[in-house]
Each structure stands twice: as C-alpha cells, then as structure tokens.
Symmetry: C2
Subunit: 438 residues, 2 copies
C-alpha cells in the first residue's frame, strides 16, 4: 500500500495538466464544482458524506519520488510536467456543504477555487470519496427513518472492499447508525464497535449449549447469543437455560422475521426473560426494516444493502469546470451543452430556505454570488457553503474523530428541519425544489 | 492510513477468539470454506477475483503495538487474547480456485485449514476482498462478451471508494479489459493506463478549436479528442481540421449512441479520416455495449456499472466452518441448518468435468476428499483447487504484477472452455450444474 494518494487518479487529469502547461494555461484561475444532476434512486434527499476523509486525503495528495519515478518511467507526462508535480501541494480554496448536510439536484456541494492545474488534479479523488461515502449515507439515513428510534449497527464490512468498509462504517455513523462491527472504523473514526459471535463458534462445539456456555464464560450473561444455528425455539430455550433471564440479547439471522420475532418475544417472556433483547441481522434493507416496525425488535444489524448504497452504490456526483478567469481578470462562466448532461456555469452560493416554522422549503442556488455576499441574505435562509480549505490549509473542525462526530450531529439537525415528505421511502421527487437566483 | 490490515475485521471474530481461548478450543484444527449459495444477479457463471490481493493482505494481517494498544484501551478482548494476537501470524494452509477461475453455486472457492483461532480471524478480510473483486470481475466478463473483440477500458475510479477503484481496475483487467484510467492500478498491478481529456479542458479555452490545438501540441495527432462539449458534428469537423486525418480517435460521452456513432463514422469517412477511431464512454453497461455491436464503435470505456458490479455490487460469498477435529483426532463435518441459509459440511475438493470436445459440463464437488486424492480422478476432470498458502507461506505465483497477468491468462482459458450458454446476458440458471459426490 502506498500512502500517497496522488496516483489514485485518472490518467487524463495528468494529460490535461501537461497540455495546459504546454499551452501556458495551467495557472488560469478556475472554479470547479461538484454536484449531482439528480438524486440516486429517485430518493427524497441526498446526504453529503466523505468531506472529512477527503480533506485528509488531499493532504496526502503529493507526488513523491516513487510517484514521479513511476510517471517518468511510464512516460505518462513530460519532464516539465514532472517538475510541476514535484512541487504540487493544493494551495487553493475549497468551499463546501458541511458533512452530514442534505443535498438536492444541482446543489453546489463542493466548490474548488484554484488554478486549472491544481483543481483538475483533484477531480478523481474528490469524486471517488464523495460518491462512495454519500451513497452509503443516503442509504443509511433511510434506514434510520425506517427503524424509527431503534438503534442500528453497521455490519457490512464483508460485503465491500476492505478499505471502503471503513468508510462505509463512518458514513453510516454520520447518518445516524449507533455502532459498527468494523474495528478499524472504531480506531480511525472513534465509532463504537460491537459484535459477539457467528455460527462458526456454535459449530466449533459439540453442542449449542456448550458454545453458549463458552461464550458466557468469556463475555458474561449480558452478551448476545446467536440462536439460529439449528432450531430457533430450542436455541432460545437453551440460551435462557444457560445464561439465565439476565441474558443481554439473542440474535436472529435467518427466517421469516416478522412472525419469528413475535414468537421469540413470546417465548422469552414466557421464560421470564423480559429484559432480554432481540436483535435481527438477516439481509435487511430500509424496506425490510420498515416491515418490522410493528414487531418487537430491539435493534437491527445491517450489512450488504448499507455498504452498497441499497440499490444506488454510487451517488452520481460529477465535477465540472464552471468558471475561469481571462487574462484581463474578467471571470467567464462556462458550461458544456452535451445532450442530457448539460451543466450550469458560474460561481454559486446556496442556502436552505425555511418557513416560519423552521421547516425547509427550498434549496436556493445563487448563480454569480460568493460567500462574501452571504451576510446580505435573509435570515430565513440557512447558508450551506462553508470554508473547508483556505489557501491550501484545512479547516481542522472537519477532520478526524471530532469532525466525524460533528458531522453526525449536523445530520441530526438537518433531518429535524426537513419536511415530513422527505422521509417517505418510496421513489419520487426530491423533498425540496431547487430554485435558481441569477 | 494504517498499513496493518488486522483491524479491518469484524469485532466478533476477536470476541469468538477470546471465548475459544477461555474455553480451551482456540487451537482446535478446523476447516473453513468460502463459497456462494447462488450466483449474483442470476448470472451464468461467477469469476473468482481478489486472490492475489488477499494473499498480500493476509501477510499484512499482524497485530502490532498500535493495534494491540487500541484493542486493550477499548477493552475489546482480555489480556490472554492480546498475548495470543501479539504472536499471530497465519500458519495454516489455504487452498483455492485459481484467480480468474469461473465458479458456480456451492463451488468451494477457498478452503482454509488451520486452528479455529487462526482461521476465524481472517473471515472478514477474506470476504471483503473476494466479494468486492469477484463482483467486479463477474460484471466485467459479461462486458467482454458483449464487446465481442473490441477493447474495453476501465474508467470507473470516480464512482467507487478511492482504494476499491484500484482493486476494480485489477479485477476488470483479469476478466479481459485492456486498460484502466487509474494510475495507481498501473503502478501496483502493471495494468496499461489510458486517458486523454475531459470536458473541463475544452471549457478552459476560448474555443473548442483552441483546446484541440493545445491537446495536439502536447500529445500529437494520435491522441483522442472529446468532441461532445458543444455540438458533435461541429466538434468532429473541428477535430479533423486541427489534427488532420491522422487523428487517433474521437470520444463520444453523450447522446443516443447507436445512431450517433453511425453518423460520426460517416462524417469521419467523408472527411477522409478513415483510420480515426471512435471510442464511446457514456454510462455503458453490458446491455448498452451489446446494443452497440452492429455500430462502428472501435472501443469502449466503462465506469459506474463496472466498479459497482452492474447491479450486483457484492458477490454474496460466505465463509463457514465446515469441519473440525475432535480431541481424538477424528474429523467431524459441521453445518448450520438455518432456514434458507443451510450449508454443506465437510472437507471438499472440486473439479470441472469436460466432455470429449473439451467443453465444460459440470462443476463437481467431492465431499470428504482432499487434494491428495486428486491424482486418482479421471483426466476429463480439471482439478480446481490449488495451494495458495502452505504452512503460512504464500505461493508467490499468485501475487503481484505476475500473478495478476497469470490470472488474466487463466480467465481467458476458462472462458474458452465454457459452453456457449454461459455467454448469454439474460438472467437464468448457472451454465453448469453443480453435482456432489459423497
């Protein structure tokens, strides 16, 4: 594993840089913007995630000797470009939506103000991180809705790349999950970790009873016993016989959950284990969780559907040049006109317009405005863009464990402000219209 | 980024280890197996990918001081378990399907023979890598089929986590893609890299013509010009006027490709640019590629659908304990009986049965047989399990750049042996039945 992130980049970023250096335009002041043309999966709102990770990885985006030697040896770019890359350190400004913020079609999620060369190089890294993390967060926030107030644990590490697993745990936590099974996510991002045993532990022993006894000897009766290796009713009976009625929880990982959970609750109560909780983990997505709302489930563990964005594994965000400065200092808005993929040129600022009850009603995008104009906006409009990097320096509030916790709190606030229609699970229009002010 | 992979693990692996140490069963000789109960997306065959990556990451699966301190500080496991982890280095045997091999429901893709403790710890890492890489390879091999003999380039880095992007490029290359846009995949795995310019480069300039001139000045007329920023017919005209008829290729990234490509080919020919190729890159998946088969396309670039497994972003492989040794040396087959998730216990060996024409007809799984019995099998059966690690030592043929190239060659051989029905793109039954011999 190489710690520099500089080659986690599409080759054409470097080819464009080389052509711009050759042509003398690499230093042209530019504005790039990351946005989505539509919300993934016809959902009601998107969730910005990955900002804290992105800022840390931009810091690692440096071309060291190893990277330069490889680019040179493979004749990817010419020597003038290699010299430029050797000195590269992003020195521009980045404005963006706070991590955990909701977004809508055409929301200017990230605005990069820098030279063409400095900004074009970051395209792939920015999109990789925002597209994956936001896809997971968009799925996770719906699961939080479906679960009502019951806690959710992220357990999908085995269903995605070993490093995206860590990012997925983080995105889910930001969106409101309570814990993760992934230890690295615990270490790196301070997320509570959880987990007790798999079927293999039961199968290691001569009987389920022996396995339960071994687990309780190590973890105490407050642990969670997995009861569906053989026969569930017998598993529950054995669990309470071995652990007593102070058993923390039982876990169900198979079967027809809506009826099964009712049966198991009844059995536990009959055995006197009124405080023993039931956690379920079998191929859940937001719809299965919603179906379980009337059932006596205490918590959920979600795997595959969460880490793969529940049907929308990439958020579909794009990164476009929206403005550039001419030699005379004049800024020009630019946009492509490709069929079905047109973009809106110009510098942007965005606010969330709220009604007299504080309920969000509009996503307002100002074209041609910048953050310096924000003070003049009405107080009913919550400004959405904030400085993430200034002259190449990262705003530390967004990174690390503290930034992750902050993003989680921000997302909870954002949810509290959205209209009720935002929490419908069915496909449909965005919960807020995006309006433009030119 | 931490280079140890040891915490890229579900917490319950460590909890189970602790319970097994406490109970005195951690050293029990065991066999674990990775397999899929069904093929993702009702496809005709699966593709094993990730083996070379996995072996390298198992090598990095060590608990160093930083990992142990975190586990201790967070009271994840007790001190006896910490001592055990400090000495951990996988010392067992791993047998598996060659990377690039096809697989079917219940194929024993990976068999881990070790103590319970050593084998249980690797569950999450094994599944993360095999599930993601195999999902991408399964999508990629179908795109290769759809493209007939035209080359495919992987361009999806921006649509998946920045590290899974590198793995996706590798999996696609193994399945038959020719190149990738991802530079890190070029460096780490020796995959040819490609890419020229995005719309932002055109928009940086006052006119499309100026942008094309700048690109050709840097890259020569053999480059690929992106012609759909404004108007395609005008873009093509400008491209040939600027580059001459020796222009390498034009790229189309939008529009109704089946008709558009025909129009553009006609226009190029009319301009005398008979050798200028057409490459298309607009939201392609295997179905869109198949639709373009009659069109005069020369090559394809595929992004989102490839790196997200084209509708099946995780291969659905699981890792189960299938046998354990009793204190008296006797091996016991074990299996869980959970509804809809039952597994088949016992040691396994597998072959691909071929008919007299060398066409694969059956996936044969021998239960209770081991590799030492392989010599006695009929010569029409191609053995599928090979040693990947022996007593903790990696078989170096599978890793690095050479291992990746070897996997690509193996996949081409495997494809040549599959029956014609394997290459149907529609949903359906596996191309080969899995038969069991007990």
């Amino acid at each position: 594993m190489n710690t520099s992130t500089a080659l986690r980049t599409d080759r054409y970023e470097l080819t464009m840089l080389e052509a711009a250096i050759t042509h003398g335009t690499a230093d042209t002041p530019c504005m790039f913007e990351a946005f989505g043309r539509r919300l993934p999966g016809a959902r009601r709102y998107g969730v910005v995630a990955g900002i804290g990770r992105l800022l840390e990885r931009i810091r690692d985006f440096r071309f060291g000797d190893a990277e330069l030697a490889w680019l040179s040896g493979n004749e990817v770019v010419n020597s003038a470009t290699l010299d430029w890359l050797a000195d590269y350190r992003f020195s521009g400004d980045i404005w963006g939506y706070a991590e955990g913020e909701a977004y809508f079609p055409e929301s200017p999620i990230l605005i990069v103000e820098s030279s063409f060369g400095e900004g074009v190089l970051l395209e792939t890294l920015i999109l990789s991180i925002l597209n994956y993390d936001s896809a997971v967060a968009a799925a996770a926030t719906r699961m939080v809705t479906a679960a009502a107030d019951r806690p959710l644990a992220e357990m999908g590490s085995r269903r995605t790349h070993e490093d995206s697993a860590v990012a997925a745990a983080r995105a889910a936590y930001i969106a409101g999950f309570s814990a993760t099974s992934n230890l690295e996510a615990g270490r790196t991002w301070g997320i509570p970790t959880m987990g007790t045993a798999a079927h293999s532990f039961t199968l290691l022993h001569e009987s389920e009873e022996e396995a339960f006894r071994a687990q309780i000897a190590a973890s105490g009766p407050e642990t969670t016993l997995l009861v569906d290796t053989y026969d569930i009713a017998r598993g529950v009976e054995t669990a309470i016989r071995v652990a007593g009625t102070e058993l923390g929880a039982i876990r169900l990982d198979s079967g027809d959950l809506p009826t099964l959970v009712v049966d198991v609750r009844r059995q536990l109560d009959k055995l006197g284990a009124h405080d023993t909780k039931i956690t379920v983990t079998s191929d859940l997505d937001e719809y299965a969780i919603a179906t379980l709302r009337p059932a006596p489930v205490d918590s959920y563990g979600v795997g595959t559907s969460l880490v793969t964005g529940s049907g929308s594994p990439a958020a579909g965000l794009v990164y476009k040049l929206v403005a550039r400065q001419r030699g005379n200092g004049e800024w020009v808005s630019v946009a492509k006109a490709s069929t079905g993929k047109a973009s809106i040129g110009g510098r942007k600022y965005a606010t969330r317009v709220r009604d007299e009850n504080g309920v969000a009603r509009q996503e307002k995008v100002y074209i041609g405005l910048g953050p310096e104009d924000a003070d003049a906006l009405p107080s009913t409009e919550r400004p959405l863009l904030q400085p993430l990097m200034t002259a190449g320096d990262i705003d530390d509030r967004h990174v690390g464990v503290a930034g992750t916790r902050r993003a989680r709190e921000h997302h909870a606030m954002v949810r509290s402000e959205l209209p009720a229609g935002a929490f419908r699970l069915g496909r449909g229009d965005p919960a807020l219209p995006t309006t433009f002010d030119e």
